[in-house]
């Protein structure tokens, strides 16, 4: 650590009575760094920006000219949004599907979060035979394509489990909004391998002396899990929460199979997918539809982002 020769800049900085954060910022954000980050940000934003411009252009313009001609020939219309938000399909309107999306997504995020953090804790900090193999097994299950799981899982719900002619589990026989339970179940199954993998990596990085100290104090595993581990892995929980939220919110396949496409249960993606019409002739509506569906995930991301603030982890370890 002592091999580095201090540069003039660092020397000058050290004498400055600024906050630590400001100093770090000054170091990393040289002019090139700013430039590079702006270039990346612009590159990443342009396609979405183009989509946004398209969404406020009239149908004929979208279909015949590029979105950049908007700047030389601005024609604004909210028709696309109006069609997406207020056109009433025979199968109901967007608000209904919006509620379905919420009802599907919230439990589908909470269940895997809880189950996976419990499992990850056990796999990282409990001593039992074969735990590494259990962990590797769960990890490897990530590769199973969920498409291959659709038919067996659907059968599990609709006919139950029969082993050698004996019904050991009855069919679920759910109707209408009760089918949400099937979707929660399916999403939770499919999310667990990744969730356990991600959370295990964070939990196993926690300092061992902390756990040891708690054990010595006589804390049980559930207590350690609740009072020490959970607060420490908040950033990881937030990160996984965001991904799972996005995945479920944007999912079309699982919802179509386990909830059906009616307005009692189908999420927004189902409605948005059918907006283009049977033969796709109304695809200009998709531009507005895409933006309507992005709003909620973005709000979730922005509100969960504060969990990533610096020192959350480091601070609690010290305390």
């Amino acid at each position: 650590m002592t091999t580095a020769t201090p540069t003039v800049g660092v020397g000058a900085q050290a004498t400055e009575p600024t906050t630590r954060g400001a100093r770090v910022r000054k170091r990393l954000n040289s002019r090139t760094a700013t430039l590079v980050s702006i270039v990346i940000a612009v590159l990443w934003t342009i396609p979405t920006f183009g989509l946004f411009i398209s969404s406020i252009r009239p149908e004929n313009e979208i279909k015949t000219t590029g979105w950049w001609t908007f700047f030389s020939n601005p024609q604004i219309t909210l028709e696309n949004y109006q069609e997406v938000l207020f056109s009433r399909g025979s199968s109901g309107q967007l608000a209904s599907y919006f509620i379905n999306s919420l009802a599907i997504t919230i439990p589908s995020v909470l269940f895997p979060l809880a189950f996976a953090s419990l499992a990850a804790y056990a796999l990282a900090w409990m001593n039992f035979k074969g735990r590494d193999w259990v962990y590797i097994g769960i990890f490897a299950l990530q590769i199973v394509p969920l498409q291959m799981a659709l038919v067996p899982l659907l059968r599990f719900f609709s006919t139950g489990v029969t082993v050698a002619g004996v019904q050991i589990m009855p069919a679920w026989d759910l109707v209408d909004e009760q089918k949400f339970a099937q979707v929660w179940f399916a999403h939770t199954c499919f999310a667990l391998p990744f969730a356990v993998f991600l959370l295990h990596n964070f939990i196993s990085q926690l300092p061992g002396d902390l756990m040891e100290a708690a054990r010595v104090d006589g804390a049980t595993h559930p207590k350690i899990f609740r009072t020490i581990v959970l607060p420490l892995i908040t950033p990881a929980l937030a990160a996984f929460g965001i991904f799972q939220f996005l995945w479920v919110w944007n999912d079309l396949l699982v919802a179509l199979i386990f909830a059906g496409g009616g307005d009692e249960t189908a999420p927004m993606t189902v409605r948005l997918a059918e907006l283009a019409g049977t033969r796709g002739n109304e695809w200009q509506r998709l531009t507005a539809g895409a933006f309507v569906s992005i709003v909620v995930p973005l709000v979730v991301f922005l509100s969960l982002q504060r969990f990533f603030v610096r020192g959350l982890l480091a601070g609690s370890v010290k305390g």
Partner: protein, 348 residues
């Protein structure tokens, strides 16, 4: 024109049931594990008193208790995984040895078909290109960006911009990029890429037709989506680097470059592995990008897309399952790497 809220009520009720079930299951489990062991602890204490009186040994007890604990912690996860993924994985493997209608056993026919297909070699090469490039490039961009905007003035906004594509579904993203690559032989271009080429004096091109360039153009879509994932996880890891380490390095007069390689990189190594491994697996499984953009035409096919087409579009369950099993096999190197990692972690 009114909205019938009464019709929506059952949904909220159902959502409430779901949340109640959640609290009951998770809370109940924790409570159970809290109460029962303390009951046993008290009994054990009593036994201990009795044992110390009689002088019998009791060292093995504790370990057993830990195993039982772990079992209950793992129970929900293992149960769900068994139903939702283990059974389907076994079923898929069995189906891969059966015919298209899953009626008769055909031995290795489906695997023979797989390697007899001329196009399969192309599919394998493409999958390899995908799985090598996507994790590397997406992680690279995510890492650079996470480091660059860390503690910058508009950090939240800057991160949201990169994260934005994550909020769009794979299908939606592919449609957006198809517009970027769109081609018009006459008149105005409506695709951005061709417009740039034309305004620079070049000839417009049909980007998605030419192999192998088209595969790289499709990979761009995946990178565009997944860089946000890498950025979020790595950013969380960077923020978790203990302040005192950074402070100490700073007092030593480390340059930003040295800081990155000596402090940041080693500290976020576990997170980096998580990102690369996750992206590799996600890339192996990706199918909607290729399906939406080219449907595997023009030599752009990958295994997962072909698997989906075989099993769901063509009703060739056997062949689709064989391709899925092949995916299982491809993930083995990653699993082995993970085992070695775990061993190292245990030793170190």
């Amino acid at each position: 024109m009114e909205f019938d809220f009464a019709a929506e009520q059952p949904k909220f009720l159902m959502l409430m049931y779901g949340l109640i079930a959640f609290v009951a299951v998770v809370g109940g489990l924790l409570l159970l594990l809290d109460v029962v062991p303390s009951f046993f602890a008290r009994r054990r204490e009593a036994q201990l008193v009795a044992a110390s009186a009689s002088g019998a040994p009791l060292p093995r007890r504790r370990k057993q208790g830990e195993g039982a604990f772990a079992f209950f912690f793992l129970l929900p996860t293992l149960l769900l995984l068994a139903i939702g993924l283990v059974v389907p994985a076994i079923r898929t493997t069995l189906l891969s040895f059966m015919d298209s209608g899953s009626n008769d056993w055909v031995g290795l026919d489906n695997y023979r078909w797989m390697f007899a297909e001329d196009s399969i070699v192309r599919v394998l090469i493409n999958t390899l290109i995908w799985v090598l490039l996507v994790p590397l490039v997406a992680t690279g961009f995510g890492l650079i960006y996470a480091v660059l905007v860390d503690k910058a003035r508009f950090e939240a906004v800057a991160k949201s911009l990169i994260f934005l594509p994550m909020a769009i579904s794979f299908v939606g993203a592919s449609i957006i990029w198809k517009f970027v690559y769109a081609y018009r032989g006459e008149g105005d271009q409506i695709g951005l890429l061709n417009q740039i080429v034309v305004s620079l004096g070049g000839e417009p091109k049909q980007w998605l037709l030419d192999s192998p360039l088209n595969t790289f153009l499709l990979i761009v879509i995946m990178v565009w989506i997944q860089a946000g994932f890498a950025m979020v996880v790595l950013s969380a890891a960077i923020k978790a680097i203990p302040a005192d380490i950074v402070e100490a390095a700073r007092l030593d007069g480390t340059t930003p470059w040295q800081m990155f390689w000596r402090i940041t990189m080693p500290s976020i190594r576990p997170a980096l592995i998580v990102v690369v491994v996750t992206l590799s697996i996600a890339t192996l499984k990706v199918f909607d990008i290729v399906r939406t953009a080219t449907n595997g035409n023009y030599d752009t096919n990958v295994i997962a897309t072909e698997m989906y087409n075989q099993a769901f579009r063509y009703q060739e369950n056997g062949q689709g399952s064989a391709l899925a099993v092949f995916l299982f096999i491809l993930v083995i190197p990653i699993v082995i790497y993970q085992i070695r990692n775990l061993r190292k972690q245990r030793e170190g």
